[in-house]
């Protein structure tokens, strides 16, 4: 129990740090929080009224400590502020986009984990065979490709050269389910392909690490069938770090999926963020940033807790 709270506390600290970073970066950047833009650009992008609202949102006229406490009070109420462009609460604007991003990740994650994991397992059990080396090499290269490059190559191949799937995944209100699904094939595949290499290397590595251990030789020497050795002994030992790294990858995938979405104009968080950036909608940008960060930290926290749950050595003796 102590460990549980220690982990939770650690992540709370990390979240606090991230929030403070967000706060200070914004204010300590030279000039206004909008220093990335010149005054003229700002004028072009925002109306006078919007600019006023923006200044009120940040409370820039108040002393820094007061701003700081306001900022945290606001966030602790779950209030992410008001979007300038959509003229709605940020949380409300973000929610449907977040759902679609989660759907994309969810659909791509499972096949990537299953196929990549199975290949990684096979690879580890056939270590050093010639075909295994080729598979490994291929996966290392695949994994080294940035997600947007995979997405672009996939799009060019399957939507332009061989126009099988739609190239643009925008969703319109009137579309039927099959139409929507068809539009998800390419982004989901691109995402799955990108994660495939990661999962393959991850599973292969942790299996190899376990395979060399003496307790695996011992399990074999006990005359257990190979199935039991693999599924009970090897998998059981490889699982805790695997779960942790999988959750980490899920966290990282919020970054990768960003690029994939924008290649296919998929209406997820990325497209919303890009709209927000184009419209200089800072509360919305901030909201998306904090949300993404929160998701990633949540996944990391989950990873840590799951590892503790699965590894008896980290639990206290009952």
């Amino acid at each position: 129990m102590f460990r549980f709270w220690a982990t939770v506390l650690q992540y709370l600290g990390l979240a606090l740090l991230a929030l403070s970073l967000n706060f200070f970066l914004l204010r300590l950047a030279p000039g206004s929080p909008l220093s990335g833009l010149d005054q003229s650009e700002l004028d072009a992008a925002l109306s006078q009224q919007q600019e006023e609202r923006l200044k009120a949102h940040y409370g820039l006229d108040l002393p820094l400590p007061v701003q700081f406490s306001h900022y945290f009070l606001r966030l602790s109420r779950g209030d992410l502020g008001q979007s300038l462009y959509f003229n709605q609460p940020v949380a409300q604007v973000v929610w449907p986009y977040l759902q679609r991003t989660l759907l994309l990740i969810g659909l791509g994650f499972l096949p990537a984990l299953l196929i990549g994991g199975a290949l990684g397992m096979l690879s580890a059990l056939n270590h050093r065979k010639p075909w295994e080396r080729w598979l490994l090499g291929g996966m290392v290269l695949l994994q080294s490709f940035p997600p947007f490059l995979i997405a672009i190559l996939l799009l060019v191949l399957l939507a332009v050269v061989f126009p099988i799937f739609p190239a643009v995944s925008t969703m319109l209100p009137g579309q039927g389910l099959s139409d929507r699904l068809e539009r998800m094939v390419l982004p989901v595949s691109a995402y799955a392909l990108w994660e495939l290499g990661l999962f393959y290397l991850l599973v292969r590595g942790s299996f190899l690490g376990v395979l060399g251990q003496e307790f695996i030789s011992y399990a074999r020497a006990k005359g257990l069938p190979e199935r039991t050795v693999v599924l009970r002994h090897i998998l059981r030992a490889a699982l805790p770090p695997l779960i942790a790294r999988t959750a980490l990858i899920l966290g990282v995938s919020f970054g990768g999926v960003f690029f994939i979405e924008s290649v296919f104009s998929y209406p997820g968080l990325a497209s919303l963020a890009l709209t927000a950036i184009a419209r200089v909608d800072y509360p919305l940008i901030e909201g998306i940033f904090l949300l993404t960060l929160g998701m990633i930290l949540l996944f990391n926290l989950l990873a840590d807790l799951l590892v503790a749950r699965f590894d008896p050595r980290t639990q206290e003796a009952a």
């Binding site: 490709f145 940035p146 672009i152 060019v156 690029f259 940033f289």
Partner: protein, 266 residues
């Protein structure tokens, strides 16, 4: 494998060299002309020559990637070396490194590039700022392994300073490891720079491969139909080849891949 890597590197490297020589692309040609006379790789939607964009874009992408990679590696060596050499610093610095590593890099990169002016110099600084932890993490155990080595002890007994020992006696022994790390960091820098540019978060007046992709993907019309052949393919291919060259040269380094499965023989 090394030969294939070298062949892959040929294209991006010659583009880099040409980037120094060729003049900047200007919108003086008819838009969307196909590859051929006058414009080797055709022109884009506003009539800029693709080939000269590719060359000057290579200068930015590879330049920013390499500079960020070198900086990140150096910083990682410093932190990792200090953590590995001085036991008193070890726990603190390791914790700090892990903390930065758990921080999601990409959203932060996006946020920072919004707050800072989107010029290449800032990109280098920001990328280096997020690249170093992985180097520090690789270097630390290697340095602490050499801490007790004979020649290090001798240097210590001669009252050499810690930093001097780290940089003159320990790190030179880790050259292969550091080289691998440097390539990884450069790869990260290049990919991240292209990614930011692809999202339209860099200065639109500084050409780069990512910016070319960003412009190509702004409207479906620019990459559907026959145009993708010269609006999308050249920058995508250039980046793919650069990544491949780096990855392939890393692939030859077995230690990167294989958590060894060797058993004690006696």
């Amino acid at each position: 494998m090394r030969i294939v890597a070298l062949l892959c590197a040929l294209v991006p490297l010659s583009l880099l060299l040409l980037g120094f020589v060729l003049p900047r692309a200007e919108a003086i040609h008819p838009p969307f002309s196909p590859p051929g006379r006058g414009n080797l790789l055709g022109t884009d939607d506003v009539g800029q020559d693709i080939f000269s964009q590719l060359a000057s874009g290579g200068l930015t992408t590879i330049g920013v990637g390499a500079a960020a990679g070198v900086l990140a590696t150096l910083f990682g060596l410093l932190v990792g070396g200090a953590a590995g050499y001085w036991p008193r610093l070890e726990t603190g610095l390791t914790r700090f490194t892990d903390l930065i590593l758990t921080f999601p890099r990409l959203p932060l990169l996006v946020l920072l590039s919004l707050y800072l002016k989107p010029n290449p110099l800032n990109a280098v600084v920001v990328l280096a700022l997020f690249g170093w932890p992985s180097s520090a993490r690789t270097v630390r155990p290697a340095v602490s392994g050499l801490r007790e080595a004979g020649h290090v002890q001798i240097a210590k007994s001669m009252n050499a300073s810690g930093l001097y020992i780290i940089f003159r006696h320990i790190l030179p022994q880790l050259t292969p490891l550091i080289l691998v790390q440097l390539l990884l960091e450069i790869r990260f820098g290049m990919v991240a720079q292209t990614g930011l540019a692809f999202l339209g978060l860099t200065d639109p007046s500084v050409p780069s491969w990512g910016l070319m992709l960003f412009q190509a993907f702004r409207h479906p019309q620019t990459f559907l139909g026959p145009y993708w052949l010269w609006t999308v393919l050249p920058p995508a291919l250039a980046l793919a080849l650069a990544v491949l060259a780096l990855s392939l040269s890393l692939l030859t380094d077995e230690r990167q891949l294989d958590p060894r499965l060797r058993r004690e023989t006696t």
